[in-house]
């Protein structure tokens, strides 16, 4: 039993902190938000140069061959700096589909361009009525000749504007809510029949609503089993949830740091407000929430390697609940302890609160995941 990082993992963490200290202060972030698609190509290139975009890919595919812990370390650092670049959709999610389900040819066609930073990806999954159900899918993939034709609509596709390639979940068989009959398809964003509407999200990212009208893709567009992607989807999405947990821990950690710093500088009634016990106790409660969240983020990270899919799913679901709860405590109290300043767009703290709030409703919220834990059985 060991919860510490190896020497290499510590170095990774340090180099990430160094990179973001240099490239990601609050003013720089605001500039990146104004670039096309809402993030910085320059920062993305730096991530590529440091080998971070190739981290989880096998060495035989040109990657570093690192594991879940390394992804956790990266995601925490991204959360701490409120990084806008599409690491989660490109490397973790779409990279995950390629790693776990891609053919040799698919990997050869896509992985090198992820690793060198030349192309980014987006995950098109959410639909109007799907909410958190990954298999409530109306978008269809129909066989035509040697290839597929995709029709439907996907919402809130993060990095939808800049992405070169979409990974789309679509129904090849069965009724709208069947768990089977769903496949995962690679679709170039410049394909004919794709319509995009892009917009800013609450947490400063950019998303797109994407329509697919008779979009034709070749036979090799399907990743894995085109008629039953459940195992693949569950695995990749659990990894994505674990990554979100880590990102949230980074954001919570930084929120607490910023808030404690504020308590140590702001004076009222002639004294530092951090000397008031009622405020000290709120801050201490934030620390308790953070440590519980950190424990569960580590648990989810290690669980992504569990052999038994149900145990993995349950651990990740439990972690997502804890992260949601802790995120609310820390996000809300950070604003409260800052007082009026916390309400302003100019202060950093509110942006952490907003990101934490959006993470809660990404890939399943507290209520959804409590039910998942429940369905699988006793947790302790």
């Amino acid at each position: 039993m060991d919860f510490e990082f190896s020497e290499e993992q510590r170095l990774l963490k340090e180099s990430l902190n160094g990179l973001f200290a240099e490239t990601y202060n609050f003013e720089q972030r605001k500039k990146y938000m104004k670039e096309k698609g809402g993030w910085s190509k320059l920062v993305w290139q730096k991530l590529a140069e440091q080998g971070l975009l190739g981290l989880p890919f096998a060495e035989s595919d040109g990657g570093v061959g690192a594991g879940a812990v390394e992804t956790m370390i990266v995601m925490e650092a991204l959360g701490r700096a409120l990084v806008l670049e599409p690491y989660l959709p490109t490397v973790v999610i779409c990279g995950g589909f390629l790693r776990h389900g891609g053919s040799v040819a698919q990997k050869a066609a896509h992985v090198p361009s992820i690793i060198d930073g030349s192309r980014t990806f987006a995950f098109a999954q959410l639909e109007r009525s799907s909410r958190y159900d990954l298999y409530d899918i109306a978008t269809s993939a129909k066989k035509r000749g040697n290839g597929w034709v995709i029709d439907g609509e996907k919402l809130l596709v993060i990095n939808g504007q800049n992405a070169d390639t979409l990974v789309v979940t679509a129904r090849s068989k069965g009724a709208q809510r069947d768990k089977t009959g769903v496949g995962v398809f690679l679709v170039p964003t410049n394909a004919n029949g794709i319509g995009k509407k892009t917009y800013l999200t609450q947490d400063g990212l950019q998303a797109a609503d994407i329509t697919f009208t008779g979009v034709e893709v070749s036979a090799d567009a399907a990743i894995g089993d085109s008629e039953n992607g459940v195992l693949l989807i569950e695995r990749v999405i659990d990894e994505a949830r674990a990554a979100l947990c880590a990102e949230a821990v980074g954001a919570m950690d930084e929120s607490l740091k910023i808030t404690v710093e504020y308590l140590k500088t702001r004076t009222q009634f002639g004294v530092l407000i951090g000397s008031f016990q009622s405020l000290q106790h709120r801050a201490a409660e934030m620390f308790v929430a953070l440590e519980q969240a950190r424990s569960m983020s580590m648990f989810a990270t290690m669980a992504t390697n569990f052999v038994d899919a149900a145990s993995r799913a349950q651990a990740v679901a439990a972690a997502k609940v804890q992260i949601g709860r802790s995120g609310k405590v820390i996000g809300q109290q950070s604003i409260q302890l800052h007082g009026g300043i916390g309400m302003t767009m100019e202060a950093r703290i509110g942006h952490y609160f907003k990101r934490l709030t959006m993470i809660e409703s990404t890939l399943g919220d507290i209520g959804y995941h409590i039910q998942r834990v429940n369905e699988i059985g006793a947790l302790v």
Binding site: M1, E4, Q280, A284, F287, A293, S295, A318, I370, V380
Partner: protein, 395 residues
């Protein structure tokens, strides 16, 4: 980073399990499941059995009669006992005064007391709190005046758990009233049979007798009962309070109670279906389980850290264990109370009622009442928040 236990640790867990199945008297287990208090002789007999196996003080260093367990082994041992359930060794001796004696005591004290603690020849109780000194422990007033080769102790201790069973009490006494309050305290071992000691039971809201008042009226104690140096008692007390911080989370106890809740909730019906199938109830239970899982992981993180870096001064993050551990113990007793609903009401357990299995049901409300103590004792949860705020956050 790795969650897995080593092969040796797995084997140890299996060994503990098998021993429990073999050695725990079924009647004792049954009483514990029902939440009943065990009589002294039953407890002492069980702990002596553990000592014969070498496990009563397994976490102590080998030179003092322990098995030299790693923190992980100690954790496994306690968790298995709590989940079985079987009584864990008495903390006052094994987890508190024992480590103080082998860390700060002299050779004669080590030789005399340590084997007696391991074999429960002495039942120890803790003389820290006073009527005027709860969270502000250092303000304690019970004084010990040096007269020749004796200390003369006068004052009053309170909340003394199981003083009615105890042979010995370790006390914090004021030996120098002229200095800063923390600097004038000494750590003294007192025989409870000494002349001038009166023990008076306090009945708690659950109806039970666990705690007592202990009065000291010109009690004479030989000076060789002083541990370490005079006026350094506060330092030893802080060592003691931090020593078993990871035990205070009582994860195994809560796990056992969660299982109990599931079992009972599948028997009690609400609206024609077992309560366990009621979505609102399930959600509450699952929420609690998730909190408990997070607590277990936090505890494992702290234990793994101790294993790697040694058990120096206590990790301030362990205040998280106290806060969350007590909250979850309270939530689980509250859920159990909710499961049995109106049938929690009958108080007199000696009177037959038409409610089935009266004896264990009668313990549920008392257990809920009794567990309100866990966020108060061992440094109240508010004190833990103070510690986090001061030591961790620097406020």
């Amino acid at each position: 980073m790795d969650l897995a236990l080593t092969n040796e640790e797995h084997a140890f867990r299996e060994e503990v399990r098998q021993f429990l199945r073999r050695a725990v008297p079924p009647a004792m287990r049954c009483k514990l499941v029902k939440g009943a208090q065990l009589p002294k002789d039953e407890l002492v007999a069980w702990w002596r059995l553990l000592n014969k196996k070498g496990w009563c003080v397994g976490q102590w260093p080998k030179e003092y009669g322990g098995a030299g367990w790693t923190p992980v082994q100690h954790y496994i041992f306690k968790e298995e006992l709590q989940m079985y359930p079987a009584p864990v060794p008495l903390a006052f001796g094994v987890g508190m005064v024992g480590p103080v004696i082998y860390t700060f005591g002299n050779e004669a004290q080590k030789k005399h007391y340590l084997p007696r603690i391991a074999n429960m020849d002495d039942w120890w109780c803790q003389g820290f709190s006073e009527p005027g000194s709860g969270s502000d422990l250092a303000s304690l007033k019970t004084k010990a005046e040096r007269k020749g080769d004796r200390y003369v102790i006068n004052g009053q201790k309170t909340w003394t758990t199981f003083a009615q069973y105890a042979d010995m009490i370790f006390c914090l006494c004021r030996t120098d009233p002229t200095v800063k309050k923390q600097a004038g305290i000494s750590f003294i071992l007192v025989d409870l049979k000494s002349r001038g000691i009166t023990v008076r039971p306090i009945q708690t809201i659950d109806g039970g007798y666990e705690v007592n008042e202990v009065f000291f009226d010109d009690v004479e104690v030989p000076v060789e009962n002083l541990v370490g140096e005079e006026n350094k008692g506060w330092h030893y007390a802080k060592f003691l309070l931090g020593h078993e911080r990871t035990g205070i989370a009582r994860v195994g106890v809560s796990k056992e109670r969660v299982r109990r809740i599931r079992e009972v909730a599948s028997k009690f019906e609400s609206g024609g279906q077992p309560l366990i199938d009621d979505p609102a109830f399930r959600e509450k239970l699952t929420s609690c389980e998730i909190e408990l899982k997070a607590l277990e992981l936090t505890q494992l993180r702290i234990i793994a850290h101790e294993s790697k870096h040694g058990n120096g001064m206590p990790n301030p993050a362990s205040s998280v264990l106290k806060i969350k551990g007590s909250e979850i113990q309270q939530t689980t007793t509250e859920l159990l109370l909710e499961v049995i609903g109106p049938f929690a009401a009958p108080y007199d357990k000696n009177v037959e009622s038409s409610i089935e299995a009266t004896d264990w049901i009668a313990q549920i409300a008392p257990s809920y009442f009794n567990n309100r103590k866990v966020s108060i004792y061992g440094g109240s949860n508010e004190i833990q928040l103070n510690i986090i705020s001061k030591v961790v956050l620097g406020l």
